[in-house]
């Protein structure tokens, strides 16, 4: 997979209600590492956990071709057009690694992942 177009990989923390959610570019090499991590996670048929009505609802990695990996509550779900595939991530390593790529002061105060 060509992940060299680093500027085209985007991350987003799903957290706000009034303001637009914080978004930032992810380097291609980091995206590649995240995809490798995702490919090693076990398949999951569990229902996606419900996020709270207000507050942090997970984070998202978006590929240049539009595919997204959304992570919340120990699950990472790949959405590719109409298809979805979930993987279990009880340690939330995908989510933590993705959020760790956020530039300083991008995420809100009191943000705990």
């Amino acid at each position: 997979m060509d992940t060299s177009r680093s500027a085209d990989w985007l991350a987003k923390a799903l957290v706000f209600s009034g303001r637009p959610d914080p978004a930032w570019a992810v380097p291609g090499s980091v995206a590649e590492e995240l995809l490798r991590l995702w490919s090693e996670l076990p398949s999951s048929t569990d229902r996606q956990p419900s996020p709270p009505a207000l507050g942090y609802r997970g984070c998202l990695l978006e590929a240049p071709d539009g595919r997204t990996w959304e992570s919340f509550g120990g699950q990472v779900t790949l959405k590719d057009g109409q298809t979805t595939e979930s993987r279990g991530d009880p340690g939330r390593s995908f989510e933590r690694q993705l959020l760790a790529t956020a530039p300083a002061n991008t995420l809100p105060p009191f943000f705990s992942n």
């Binding site: 799903l14 209600s17 959610d21 009505a53 207000l54 507050g55 105060p109």
Partner: protein, 299 residues
Amino acid sequence: MTIRITIDIFSGRPNPSVELDDRESANVLDRLMPERRLAENEPGLPAEPTLGYRGLVVEQIGERREELPELFRVVDGDVFGRGLAHRARDERVGDYLIGADSPLRRANVDQTVMERLPEEAERFRDIRRAWPIEFPPIPFWPRCCRCGPIYEPGWWNVPSRQPFNNCYNYATNYRTDTFAQPGRAAGAMYTSLSCGSVGPAAVADDLIDTPDADNACPTVGDLVAMVIWPDADFHWYRKGRNGWWSHKRGGTPVTNVDNSGNYISDPRYANRGPYIDFCTFHGCHAWTHQDQLTGWLRR
């Protein structure tokens, strides 16, 4: 046509589930076909979830049997789901599915769980028989808001509107498709994420500061409420015509429950997650959402 059966039994661990093959699925679905509607004096389901075995959840995957919903629950010989509270064709289907000849036995389900199921099913049967099938009383019904907007999440929760309109759009019932920000259109956008900054920005947008509203509807227009996640974000609620409040969190669907899953009679006392500062109520002109794509908020 296949089905997935989940044994609804655990609280902390994930419930075990198995997917049946086509032949087994067809056999089980034949047994589950709704035969007659349950009478009022027959046991239904407890009004609240109980601990321990709570029945089997059946999901139809792919092509489905039309007489049964995509997702439903089987308890003893009864099936429950959307539009469904029926006795199944095979009244002993529940026993069959948890019994020694069940396809669940051939699946990779924890055998200690399987061995306990008959006993657990009996316990749940007793609960169903004894349960007072009553909904908990509603302590009060909030006063209606004559001029308030109707709760119609379906209008907002569509791909052409939902992602582009936020809590402020929804609360003011004003679609702009721009993720409206208080004060932006009036050239007086908030400068910090605090009550003292976002409030005046909203007033610049023509909202009416009504700190003494005390959850009562104005005689003209709607009632909205502003809350703050200090230094991080703002959020708005709106009071509906039926007296209950609803809201829209960013680009996600409209909802009428708070972070605890409760209906909202007063946002001051709702579970608001990190939006810990309740700022004030505001009056809002009674716009209709359908025709606002060219109005003042659109910038």
